[in-house]
């Protein structure tokens, strides 16, 4: 299983649509993508996880790393589209409190236009 990453720009946010699994094999690819975008000055990043059916602790590490990296550059990282197993995982690890912000779709995030 691979991790697919499709990048879109929307209302000042970078949306990364992810599909597959985020683990030790695929995490580095996501980390790199985030690092590059922040280097390019794109510090407001949304991860659309609706196509992701597995995140392990390595994946969590990548998300936390991305959160810290974007925030330290004045931006933010949000996760939307969590499937049930991922919600469970985020709850177990306390990540839900800071990462998902109750957002359900990219459109629910402030600054996103509804079109």
């Amino acid at each position: 299983m691979m991790l697919g990453i499709t990048q879109k720009d929307k209302d000042g946010w970078v949306v990364l649509e992810l599909s597959g699994e985020i683990d030790m094999a695929t995490g580095p690819k996501l980390r790199q993508t985030i690092v590059h975008r922040v280097q390019d000055g794109d510090t407001k990043i949304v991860l659309d996880l609706s196509g992701v059916d597995f995140v392990d602790s390595t994946g969590l590490g990548v998300l936390i790393g991305g959160l810290k990296r974007t925030r330290s550059h004045g931006g933010d990282l949000r996760c939307v589209g969590l499937t049930e197993p991922l919600k469970e995982m985020f709850k177990l690890t306390g990540l839900d409190a800071i990462l998902s912000k109750e957002n359900k779709t990219p459109e629910d995030i402030e600054g996103f236009s509804h079109d």
Binding site: M1, E21, D23, M24, A25, F54, D56, S57, T58, L60, G61, V62, I64, G65, L67, P85, E88, M89, K91, L92, T93, G94, L95, A97, I98
Partner: protein
């Protein structure tokens, strides 16, 4: 434990998804196992295998990781065995409980705490020759 399956993989991250597929298939053999418990086991075994692969980082690639999976009447047992350098689980740095905001200053150290939450039983046997993590998930009695 009823005799089950044995899987040997090279210590490479790309085999993690295969290990998960095997665990899901094996647990699914018993229709009494609930989907949520299969998810729990899938993640717990993935965490244990991730640690085993990391522990092999400095070993030759011939040294493989062994995953044993057995279905009993009332339990699924999965054992992940590596030939890494071993560690002392008692001496793990205390990184605070899961589910606390301060916890997020660390990007790692989630693996074993997660396994403890997800599995009904966990046993870690570690020595210089390697580590075996045994994870148990209970199967509810089929009515």
């Amino acid at each position: 434990m009823t005799k089950g399956i044995t899987l040997e993989i090279p210590a490479k991250a790309e085999y993690l998804s295969l290990v998960r597929a095997v665990v899901v298939s094996a647990a699914g053999l018993d229709p009494a196992v609930e989907d949520q418990r299969i998810e729990d086991l899938r993640l717990a075994v993935s965490e244990a295998t991730t640690n085993a692969i990391r522990a092999h980082a400095n070993l030759g690639s011939d040294e493989r990781i062994t995953i044993r999976c057995g279905l009993g009447d009332d339990r699924i047992e999965v054992e992940v065995q590596d030939r890494g350098p071993g560690f002392n689980p008692e001496e793990l740095k205390e990184v605070g409980p899961l589910n606390e905001p301060e916890r997020l200053q660390y990007e790692g150290g989630f693996g074993i705490p997660l396994m403890r939450v997800l599995a009904d039983e966990i046993q870690i046997d570690s020595a210089d020759e390697g580590t075996t993590v045994q994870l148990v998930v209970y199967i509810p009695p089929s009515s």
